[in-house]
C-alpha cells in the first residue's frame, strides 16, 4: 500500500500536513504526537523581523468554529533558523516554512534567508486577514498575486506553495494568477474573515474586531474552493479548512487535493493529525486502494 504523495517532486510519506499557525514549529505538539508520523509540518508564519502580533483577545469561539486574529506574531527569521529548523530536522518529516511579510521585499528577504536551510518547501502567506499591510492585500488582486509569486519564484531555492485567500469572488482567478506567476503548488483555504459581538458588553469580542474563521464550520466552503481551484490549474493543490477526521481529509483528496492540512482540529484534538493519517490507511485497506494517489480528484462526476 502506497501512502506517499508528491508535491512538486517533494515526496511526503503521507498526505497529512499541519496548517500554518496552529502547530507552532511542532515543539509543543511534539509532546503529544509523534511528528515522524506526519507527511509534513508547516510552521507558523515567519517574517524577516520579529512581529508582536495583535492585542488580545485574539481568539473567539463560534458555532462549530473559531475566529482568530493573532496578527502573525512570530520570532523573526534569525531565531527561527537557529531554533525551529534544527528542532524539526530531528524528525523524519518534511519541513514547510510559511513565509509572511508586509512588503514584497520582506517576503523576499525571508525566502533568500531560507535558501541554504534544510527546508523542503516554502509556503507564501498572501492571505492573512488579520494584518493591515501585506498578507491579504497581496491575495485579493490577481495582478498582485501573480507579481508576488513571480518575485518569490525568482529568488526561491525550494518549490513554492502560494497560500490563497477564500475572501475573493472567484477563487479560480486567483489560482490561475498564482500558477501564471510560476507557483509550484497552491494551498487553500486560509481563514474566512468574520466577526463576533458580545451583546452584553456591546463590544467586539476580538480586539482586532475581525478575525479569521476556521474549523468544521468552514469545511464545505473550503471543499468547494479546493475543487474549483484543483480543476482550474495543473499544479498540485493542498486542501485545508475544517479538516478534523480522516473522512474529511478523504473528501478533500477526492475533490482534487494532493495533500491536506489539519489546523483548528489540533486545538481540540491534539492527536488529530496522526488519527487522520491512520484513518486514511484504514480507508484504503477497507476499500482495496493500493495507492493513495488513486483518490486524488477521484470524485465521480
Amino acid at each position: 500500500m502506497n501512502t506517499k504523495v508528491s508535491l512538486a517532486g517533494v515526496l511526503l510519506k503521507n498526505p497529512v500536513m499541519t496548517a500554518s499557525g496552529t502547530f507552532g514549529s511542532g515543539a509543543e505538539y511534539g509532546e503529544l504526537v509523534d511528528l515522524n508520523r506526519l507527511g509534513a509540518v508547516v510552521t507558523k508564519g515567519v517574517a524577516n523581523v520579529p512581529w508582536p502580533g495583535n492585542p488580545t483577545p485574539r481568539v473567539a469561539e463560534t458555532a462549530g468554529g473559531m475566529l482568530n486574529a493573532i496578527g502573525l506574531q512570530n520570532p523573526g527569521i534569525d531565531l527561527f533558523c537557529k531554533r525551529d529548523i534544527p528542532f524539526l530536522k530531528q524528525f523524519d518529516t518534511k519541513i514547510v516554512v510559511n513565509v509572511c511579510g508586509r512588503t514584497t521585499e520582506d517576503y523576499l528577504e525571508v525566502v533568500e534567508r531560507l535558501a541554504d536551510e534544510p527546508v523542503d518547501l516554502l509556503e507564501i502567506n498572501i492571505s492573512c486577514p488579520n494584518v493591515k499591510e501585506g498578507g491579504i492585500a497581496f491575495g485579493q488582486d490577481p495582478k498582485a498575486v501573480e507579481a508576488i509569486t513571480r518575485a518569490v519564484k525568482a529568488k526561491a531555492k525550494q518549490p513554492v506553495i502560494m497560500k490563497l485567500s477564500p475572501n475573493v469572488t472567484d477563487i479560480t482567478v486567483m489560482a490561475k494568477a498564482a500558477e501564471a506567476g510560476g507557483a509550484d503548488i497552491l494551498s487553500l483555504i486560509n481563514t474566512l474573515t468574520g466577526m463576533k459581538i458580545d451583546v452584553r458588553t456591546r463590544k467586539f469580542v476580538l480586539a482586532n474586531k475581525t478575525g479569521g474563521l476556521s474549523g468544521p464550520a468552514v469545511k464545505p466552503v473550503a471543499l468547494r474552493m479546493v475543487y474549483q481551484a484543483a480543476h482550474a490549474v495543473s499544479c498540485p493543490v493542498i486542501g485545508m479548512g475544517g479538516i478534523a477526521t480522516a473522512e474529511d481529509a478523504i473528501e478533500f483528496l477526492l475533490a482534487g487535493a494532493s495533500a491536506v492540512s489539519v489546523g483548528t482540529a489540533n486545538f481540540y484534538n491534539p492527536y488529530a493529525t496522526v488519527e487522520i493519517a491512520e484513518g486514511i490507511e484504514n480507508y484504503m485497506r477497507e476499500n482495496g486502494i493500493e495507492d493513495v494517489n488513486e483518490l486524488i480528484g477521484a470524485v465521480k462526476e
Binding site: 499557525g21 496552529t22 502547530f23 507552532g24 509543543e28 505538539y29 509532546e31 503529544l32 507558523k44 520579529p50 512581529w51 508582536p52 502580533g53 488580545t56 483577545p57 485574539r58 481568539v59 473567539a60 469561539e61 458555532a63 462549530g64 468554529g65 473559531m66 482568530n68 493573532i70 506574531q73 520570532p75 523573526g76 531565531l79 474549523g215 468544521p216 483548528t264 489540533n266 486545538f267 481540540y268 484534538n269 491534539p270 492527536y271
Partner: protein, 253 residues
C-alpha cells in the same frame, strides 16, 4: 501533559454559579502542581475550544483532581451537569504553577481566582495569611482555607469582612509578608503589582486570557512582558505555556 477521558468522582454546587468537581486523573495528579490548570472539552461538537480551569486541589492518594469553576457560558454550563460516573474530556496539567517559597506568605484570591490558592495553601509550609475577595457574603471555599492559615475577607458590598477589595483588607489589617501569591481579575492583579512594587515584596500573579490550544502553539493567550521574551523574541509571553504564573514585575497588565 496528556488528554484523557477522566471519570467524574463528584460534582457539587458550592455557590452562586460556582461548582466543585473532582475527577479521577491519576497520571495528571502525579505531576500536577498548585497554580497549574487543565483544559476541559465540551461534548457539544459545536463548541470546539477547551475551557481552561485552574486546579483547586490535588489528592495524590486518591489520584484525583478538584476543579472549582464558575458557570460563565454554555460550555461551563454543560460541565456543571456532569454527574459522578460520567466522563469528562480533559488535558493537563498545563502551565507552570506557583513556586513554593519559604517565609511568610500572603495568598490572595479574588472571585473565581480563589480556587487555585487552596492547593497552594495546602503545600506552602511557612506562615500563611489568606485574603479572599468576594462580591458578597456567599463565600465559597472560605471554610476550607481556614485549616491552612488566618483568613481575611473583603466583600464588594461590605456584607462580610472589610468592605472593598483585597488590598483594602490587606491595608486595614496591616498584613505583611515575604512573598505574595495572587489570582483574580486583572484590575486586582494590577493593584497587587503596584502594591508589591511599592512595598518591595516578591509577588507571583496568575493571569488568564482567552486560549485556543492551551499548549503554547497558537499564540492566542499572550500578555505583555517587560523584557523581550526568549521564546517569542518580542515582548509577549504565552500565558498557557510560560504562565499562567508570572513574577509581578515581569509583565505589563
Amino acid at each position: 501533559m496528556q488528554k484523557i477521558n477522566a471519570e467524574v468522582v463528584s460534582q457539587e454546587k458550592i455557590g452562586t454559579d460556582i461548582y466543585s468537581m473532582w475527577i479521577k486523573a491519576e497520571e495528571m495528579v502525579s505531576c500536577a502542581r498548585p497554580g497549574q490548570f487543565v483544559s476541559l472539552y465540551c461534548r457539544d461538537g459545536a463548541k470546539l475550544l477547551p475551557r481552561p480551569i485552574s486546579i483547586c486541589e490535588i489528592a495524590k492518594e486518591q489520584g484525583a483532581l478538584r476543579i472549582v469553576y464558575r458557570v460563565a457560558g454554555k460550555g461551563t454550563e454543560e460541565f456543571s451537569a456532569y454527574k459522578a460516573g460520567e466522563n469528562v474530556s480533559v488535558m493537563g496539567p498545563l502551565g507552570n504553577g506557583f513556586p513554593l517559597k519559604e517565609g511568610r506568605a500572603i495568598l490572595i484570591g479574588g472571585g473565581i481566582g480563589i480556587p487555585p490558592m487552596l492547593e497552594l495553601a495546602r503545600q506552602l509550609t511557612g506562615q500563611k495569611q489568606i485574603v479572599l475577595g468576594y462580591r458578597d457574603s456567599h463565600m465559597f471555599l472560605k471554610e476550607e482555607f481556614e485549616a491552612y492559615g488566618s483568613v481575611h475577607v473583603a466583600t464588594e458590598d461590605g456584607s462580610a469582612g472589610t468592605k472593598g477589595n483585597v488590598l483594602d483588607a490587606i491595608r486595614t489589617e496591616g498584613l505583611q509578608a515575604d512573598v505574595i501569591y495572587a489570582c483574580g481579575p486583572t484590575p486586582m492583579l494590577k493593584a497587587i503589582q503596584a502594591y508589591a512594587a511599592e512595598s518591595g515584596t516578591e509577588a507571583w500573579i496568575s493571569l488568564e486570557e482567552r486560549m485556543a490550544c492551551g499548549v503554547g502553539a497558537c499564540l492566542a493567550c499572550v500578555c505583555k512582558s517587560k523584557e523581550k521574551d526568549e521564546h517569542t523574541n518580542v515582548n509577549n509571553k504565552r500565558i498557557c505555556k510560560d504562565g499562567p504564573v508570572f513574577r509581578a514585575e515581569e509583565v505589563t497588565l
